[in-house]
């Protein structure tokens, strides 16, 4: 433990932090027809050309079988689409006003995850989900807390000189012709 505490005193070098636009988290609740409802949800969003930039699922008999994030501007369309499906209506839960914070690189090592959990947990920042990707760790928290989360993490993480956390300014949208 002392070794761990010593390593917290040294800042971890990271290459970047990326923040999302405002998102809404959708939780898929495991009630009655879990397999059907999950598949139907993804099918409806695909048919209606709605992107889901972040998805977590687990089929291990949990009350919440999946969590995903969608763009805040898509939420009215999503509610309309699922509203017409009685099988789905009662199985979704919406958490508005969330955002993602992406730190990279993780080097497949648990240190960055451990430090992030430690810092965010110590400051009681809500964590609605997280996942690793090829080189990054993405955390879902309140959109209004993203800047605060960055400040907390940067007390123990170093960005390269002249780097700052960024929000992508280019948005790619796919549409079928």
């Amino acid at each position: 433990m002392n070794h761990t505490r010593e390593s917290i005193d040294k800042k971890i070098r990271i290459n970047g932090i990326k923040l999302s636009t405002e998102l809404v988290q959708v939780n898929l609740l495991n009630r009655f027809f879990p397999q059907d409802s999950g598949a139907l949800f993804f099918q409806l969003l695909a048919q209606n050309q709605i992107n889901i930039p972040f998805i977590l699922t687990s089929g291990m008999g949990e009350k919440i079988i999946g969590s995903c994030c969608v763009a805040a501007e898509d939420i009215h369309r999503i509610k309309k689409v699922v509203g017409g499906e009685p099988k789905l209506k009662e199985k979704l839960e919406f958490i508005p006003g969330v955002g993602t914070l992406c730190i990279f690189p993780h080097h497949s090592n648990l240190k960055l995850l451990g430090l992030s959990f430690y810092l965010l947990g110590k400051q009681h920042l809500p964590l609605y989900g997280m996942a690793s990707s090829i080189s990054s760790l993405t955390f879902i928290t309140d959109y209004s807390q993203l800047d605060n989360a960055v400040s907390i993490l940067l007390e123990y993480m170093n960005l390269p000189p002249n780097h700052a956390p960024f929000r992508p300014e280019i948005h790619v949208i796919q549409k079928k012709r």
Binding site: I52, I64, L120
Partner: protein
Amino acid sequence: METIAVYWEPKPKTYGFKEVTDLSLMNIEITPGKMGQWGLWLMELADPDIGFHLILAKYSTHQKLRLYILLEKFWADSVLSHIDNRIDLEAEKYFHLTSPVELISFQGPHFGDRYGIAYSAFKALDDQGIPILVAACSGAAVYIVLSEKKLLAARPLLAEAFEVPQP
């Protein structure tokens, strides 16, 4: 300024499948109040250089977060004994290990910005009754964790749904 680019593909293109077998999937229940403490324990595990293939955390109920760590089966025992020294696995029942499991992952151009990618992957497996243990779509990457010996059946189904570069 809006720029419109037209791109056509018969099915979503990937940069190739990454397949890994002989993995262990750890599943740890964490109450939000203990997240900081778990962070310290995870940092201790980083010291012997234990690497992971995938990590995800999601709420399993409205009060409890489940942390999934996918790592080489080879490391499972040392991680278990590390955690065993800190929590009472028998009494707490909030730790679960599934082993061995298999992983197939892939990425493609702008996967994080495009609709229907996850649906194509899940449908390909679901139609043939291949259960997914856990899955994550984050950034441009898709990760699917399967039970032992399911990868062999899953690969051609996903290769049917997605374009895979040929060597």
